[in-house]
Each structure stands twice: as structure tokens, then as C-alpha cells.
């Protein structure tokens, strides 16, 4: 469904992504794990159209999205839930959700209320507080709102950038449970995470990115058992 082919992205003169290829099948949760500065966020931003790759392509189905402006990428069906959530903090919850559907607001007005209803049933913590300002929500609730807002675009692939960032472990669990729930409903997810353990538990497949390159790819279940992954990302000690 989503195919990234030999992407190279620069920030100024610095090469951040070096020959990165990956693919995500329909209905999968795929996670990208890596340390700080490995290029995870840049990778998602490149897929979302915020950064333009110097070479390489991104395909969604048969459509090449890698040279489109952001608004067309959203329209094509890729929606990014950014790092730090970035909700519209002085707008209400309901307005945040409505703006998530911006690209289809004119053509699809009728179904938007039903979709908001769906999102609220997915995130019951937001229900009954629709007119509350998003800035007054707790971190976990803001993350739920950000994901809900991303889903309002009805994306074919949902990109999540560090959904666990700055959240308490219990809240992280709640968010990841929701992701599993989303997968059951048929949503395709590509997620970047530093919390490798939590991410690998819910994901089908995983990629490990190091200094801008994919160093390992495989099934998430196998990665949890992999000694190298355990020592580098899961906090296990290697016993000689």
C-alpha cells in the first residue's frame, strides 16, 4: 500500500536519510525504531510531503506522492499525526476534529458528523467535552485528539510520530490499545517510536533506523527476541 523507495533527504547540506526503503501492507501496523537523531521524524515528514527528498520516491498504491505539496498528499490519503501532538490549543475539541477533515469538507459534509461520532466512540475520554479548548486537555487526551484529528482525514495510511512521547506508562498502554483497536477496524499505521518495547508488542513488522539508514527489518515478534535489538533498544544486557 505504502512504498518508500530509496529515499534520500537532506537538511541543508546534511544528509539525514540515506537510501531508505520500506513498505507497509494494507491493514498492518509497522513501526520504525531508532535512537534520537536517527532520522525517524524526517522519514515520516518526507512521506507526508513536508520535506522533499533529493532522490527516491514514495508511492501510495500506484500514486507517486513524493513530489506533491502537503495538501495533495493529505488528499491522496496520507495523514501525519505529528510529534508533540500539535493540536490547535485555542480551538475546541470539535473544531480540531472538523479541521482534520479539511480536505474533504466541501465534498463530504454530510458524513463528517458521523465520522466525529465514530472518533468519539473510539476515544470516550473526549466525549461530552466537545466544546472544551484543546489546550486544556491532559497530554494523553491531546494525543488522543491528535490521532482522532488525523483519522478525520480518512487516510489510507496513518503516520504516527512518537505517540507515547511524554506520557505516563498507563496512558501509553491506553494509546497503544487504541492502535490495536484501530488495526482491527482496518486502519493501516506506520509509527515511529522510541518506546521500542511497547511499539514492538503491537506492531506486525518493524524497521530499525540508525544514522539515517535502515539497519534491520523484520517481524516485530522476532525483533523482541533478537539479542542485538534487546541490548540496543530494549534495555537487556548481553551476556557473554
Amino acid at each position: 500500500m505504502l512504498k518508500v523507495v530509496k529515499i534520500e533527504t537532506y537538511h541543508g547540506r546534511i544528509k539525514v536519510l540515506n537510501n531508505v526503503s520500506l513498505d507497509v501492507e494494507k491493514g498492518e501496523i509497522v513501526t520504525i525504531i531508532g535512537a534520537n537523531g536517527a532520522g525517524k521524524t524526517t522519514l515520516l515528514s518526507t512521506i507526508a510531503g513536508i520535506h522533499r527528498p533529493k532522490s527516491g520516491q514514495v508511492y501510495l498504491g500506484t500514486i507517486q506522492t513524493s513530489c506533491m505539496p502537503v495538501q495533495n498528499v493529505v488528499k491522496a490519503g496520507i495523514s501525519l499525526v505529528p510529534e508533540h501532538r500539535e493540536v490547535f490549543d485555542s480551538l475546541s475539541i470539535i473544531d480540531n476534529l472538523k479541521l482534520g477533515a479539511y480536505h474533504r469538507y466541501k465534498t463530504d459534509k454530510k458524513s463528517i458528523n458521523d465520522d466525529i461520532e465514530n472518533i468519539l466512540s473510539l476515544f470516550p475520554a473526549l466525549r461530552g467535552r466537545e466544546s472544551q479548548l484543546a489546550g486544556t486537555l491532559s497530554g494523553g487526551e491531546q494525543q488522543m485528539l491528535a490521532i482522532g484529528r488525523g483519522l478525520m482525514a480518512k487516510p489510507k495510511v496513518l503516520l504516527l510520530d512518537e505517540p507515547s512521547l511524554g506520557l505516563a506508562p498507563l496512558v501509553v498502554k491506553e494509546i497503544f490499545d487504541i492502535l490495536v483497536n484501530l488495526k482491527k477496524r482496518g486502519t493501516t499505521i506506520l509509527m515511529v517510536e522510541q518506546n521500542a518495547k511497547a511499539a514492538l508488542k503491537v506492531a506486525d513488522r518493524a524497521y530499525i533506523i540508525e544514522r539515517g539508514q535502515i539497519s534491520l527489518a523484520g517481524r516485530a515478534r522476532d525483533m523482541l527476541q533478537d539479542a542485538r535489538v534487546q541490548s540496543a533498544y530494549l534495555g537487556a544486557r548481553l551476556h557473554a
Partner: protein
Amino acid sequence: MSLSSELLQYLLSGLTMGGIYALVALGFVIIHNVTGIINFAQGEFVMLGAMFMVTLVNAGVPAAGALVIAVILVMIVVGLIEFGAIRTAKKASPLTLVIITIGLSTAIKGIALLIWGTNPYKLEPFTKGGPIHIGGATIIPQSLWVIGTTVLVLALTFFIFEYTYWGKALRACVVNKFAARLMGINPQRMSLLAFVFSAALAALAGIVIAPITYVTYDMGLMLGLKGFVAAVLGGLSSTPGAVIGGLALGIMESMGAGLLSSGYKDGIAFIILLLVLFLKPGGLFGTSGTKRV
């Protein structure tokens, strides 16, 4: 004339000019919030509104129709300007764009000079009738038009930003430009919208003030600068701040002119600008960012 009725008189004339400054200031703030540009051509949009109005009325178009046509004409002209001069330079820094607006201001003024010449034009007041007496002070009917229009336009602006989807999309750009882009909101379209909307505000301001001040090709400079002072007074990013800044500036000017000397009238605005920039650079209503992380 007792002091209290004198003060009331200054207050009323201050509110009249203040309403105009508020409309211009609102235009500054909307464009600045959405695009990061300080549009120094804002005053020329005021002049264009007044000039189109006078030309249409002199050509025999009834005032109400002329008003609507003049506002729409200014919106079209400004839309074309945004398309041709701002959008083509979208990769330039905001400072460069600000300088482009200064150039635009000079160009518009020059073209206006060629079309309409240096003579002042007169526009008849919207309604006939002598001055109205209120508690020892007098007010001309056109002042009521100015104040009424200001209130109406402010209410409409509030409604648009608070209750319509387009208004909310504009606000989303202001609150979080990055996230707005991720929603698929096209920043270029929002920039056009901000310019055209501000143009309408400016044109209306020019039209309602025209019967009080005469219409000249260079009337935009002072009104634009005063509107800018009002916007800075209000913090440059707050819409209620712009309105209060505009009214406050109008009243201070009128009080200063009345109680000190009318020669100081224009000086007062710029002394206020300097004081604000020295003492409270964030403006009286500058938003101090509160964000929960």
C-alpha cells in the same frame, strides 16, 4: 462650554476616528497572523475604497450600490496584487515581503495620482441632516455611520472567525501553522483569503470616513500608519487588541488635540508608538504564549 461637555465632545470625535483606526488595525493583524507579513499597503486599500466610491457616486450610481461595488473592486484588486506580488515571492523572508508591501504602497499611490490627480474629492454624507446634540456635545450623522459600521463589521468579523469553517481554518493557521498544513490547509489560499478580507475592512473604512475627511490620492499613508500604531498598541497579533488599540488611539489623539493643541494630533500617535515599543514591546494585549506540553 463646560469641561465635561468638552471631554464628551473629544470622546465622540475620538471614537469616530478610533473606529476607522480599528478597522485598519484589524486588517494589519489578520494579515500578520496568517502570513507573518506586516502589510504597509493597508492604508492604500483604504484610499482605493474611498476613491472607487467617489468615482462611482459621481458617475451616478446610488450610494448603497456604489458601496458594495467599491468594496468588491478593492477585494479584486488586492486579490490580484496578492497573486502577482506576494505569492510569486513566497520563498522570500517575511522582511523582504514587508519591503515588497512598502513598494506596493508607493506604486498604488502613484497609480492613484495618475488616475485621479491631486485634487481632493468630496463625498456627500450618507444621510442628510444637521448635527445631533448629546449632553452638550454635538455629533454629525456621518460619525454615527462610522461608529455603526465599525460595530457591525467587528461583529461580523467575530462571527466569521468564531462560527464559520473558513474562519476556523484561518484561525488554525494562526494557532499552529505547521499542524494546519498537515490538515491539508493550503497556506497560499489562506494568505489570499487574509489579504482579501483585510482589503474589504480597509475599503469600508475608507468609504465611511470619506464624507468627513475628503478623498485624496495620498490619504492612505496617514491612515495606514495610524492603523499600524493601533495594531502595535494592541499587540499586533490580537484581534480584540487591535480594536481596543484603535479606539484608544482615536480617543487619545482627540483628547490631546483638544486639550493641548490640534497641531500635536498626528504627533501623539507616534509618541504612543515609541512609548509602546520602548516600554511594552509586546503591546498592551500581547499574547504571552501559554502552551501545555
